[in-house]
Symmetry: C2
Subunit: 299 residues, 2 copies
Amino acid sequence: MNQKEKQIMDAAQKLFIIKGFRVTSIQDILREAKIAKGTFYNYFNSKNECLMAILDSVNEEIKNERMKLVFHEELDDETVFIKQVDVRFKMDKKHNLMALFHSIPISDDEDLKKFMEKHYKLELEWIANRLVDLYGAEISNHALDHAISLLGILQQGMYATKLFKMEMKKTEDVIKFALQRMKQVIQINQSDTVFFTNDYLHASNKPKDCENYKEVIIIQLRDLMSTVQNKKIHDYLQFLLEELQEKKPRLYLIESVLESLQKELKIKDMEFEGQKISQLVWRFMERWKNENSSTKAFN
Amino acid sequence: MNQKEKQIMDAAQKLFIIKGFRVTSIQDILREAKIAKGTFYNYFNSKNECLMAILDSVNEEIKNERMKLVFHEELDDETVFIKQVDVRFKMDKKHNLMALFHSIPISDDEDLKKFMEKHYKLELEWIANRLVDLYGAEISNHALDHAISLLGILQQGMYATKLFKMEMKKTEDVIKFALQRMKQVIQINQSDTVFFTNDYLHASNKPKDCENYKEVIIIQLRDLMSTVQNKKIHDYLQFLLEELQEKKPRLYLIESVLESLQKELKIKDMEFEGQKISQLVWRFMERWKNENSSTKAFN
DNA sequence: ATACATTTTATACCGATAGTCCAAAAATAG
DNA sequence: CTATTTTTGGACTATCGGTATAAAATGTAT
């Protein structure tokens, strides 16, 4: 990593910890890092990208710590597992990420969302594997089930302890609590049906990017078109279909037509359908704008 | 509710659903509601307040639906409970609130945070009570424990199904899954120790407001002062102590001194302490700014 | 109907923000 | 030393949330 890049990241990290991510402006970072604006944008295209870089390094740190913990220990040692899990929460606390990391789907930035999702999946997978380490291959069918449940109890427990100001409780205690409960589930559960089958984790992420989005929308539009015979609505839908196929869809036109379409649909008592379409198209437009506004690095 | 107010809320709600909360600007709302800016600020002091009003109405709706569901049914009927829980998730889906409601601590706005916390507690309490309805007074000790765990599995399960694009699964299925797991815990768990005792729910919220914050900070500062003999650091701490007591603390001064203090502490290998203090003071200043910038309604 | 009070509108304004652009200075590499 | 890359500093745009205000519209009591 470049020296300047590190300098920026350190400054940003410090401010994120002290002030919090959202209230830290790029201006703040520049001041703290004693750096010009151009330099910042030389390394990151946005504050979000900077955050992702920091999170990456934090995750790297977590990974290393966890590896160190298990280095000369047995894989099926529960106390080791607890400590390993604790690494994440301790780190989150240290970096003031509690809010950020565990409220994954909040961001409106598609890239950040994807980033969070990726790391969420990795964490789930890690937990699932470790649970198999701990409780044997018999539970591997239910590994993902259990991982999701455990993570759920963990997060909720952490949040609750914070909310209830139970500062006396250490994060480790919460983990022990969660694991205790999970063990009870695990013991009984062997015969039960699997809800989250393991292949979900690796199911090739149906690419949900801009292009694919378009296809989904088009299908939805065609669907809707075939069920409605009203001329006006039909025309609107037809226009949307065509405009979305354009290389440079005129967003302002789409926006306007969408508005009218929704009104028409509402008259026909199909408000819900209108909302659904609008929602999809809006998301598409947001994405399109992002992809075409800045010349982003492809990584 | 006023007619105009409803008009605004409807417009806002529609946009929040379609575009999402964060990307919807107040300007958008004005356009959608065909209303002047002044009118908006006549009813709400901010976008956040508007959101809270909407969420309040949604919560009201949820409450009613749940009451209807249990009206002529038995309280210990599991299927009724499942449907009741489902009301929330269905509603969240309908209003595109998934992300918002379940990522509670994200906001930087203190009021919104408090609002979210309040409703989170209410939901926890409701679940805890319903669990007692279902499984008898014997579990009432563990009711909060179980409520937290259940909510954790629920949220995590919902998020995972969405992430894995398991659209075939209905929200009800996820609830059944979560409840299934919880039942196993509940059955065994009777003898186990209680982690979240019920009184946490009603523990008079130690007021964490601006004034109280100050006290905490002052204690921390005194603490630190007594452990450090370095003259410079001592002076800085002394200044902070005095300035924070002022009616109108000069934030820019505090900011500057904080900066220097942190540097000094870093030299003495007490970076962590520096961060902690800075964090506290920053939060205090944020809060102070909010409380003193606008003349807010006291409600 | 008239006079008064309240609400609404339209618009200008403020400060802060993210992000772009560019020419000149500085650092670095060959 | 020269050529290239990086960095700087500032100007610039557009948008945002929010304030302020005068004038117009609306409602209300007599």
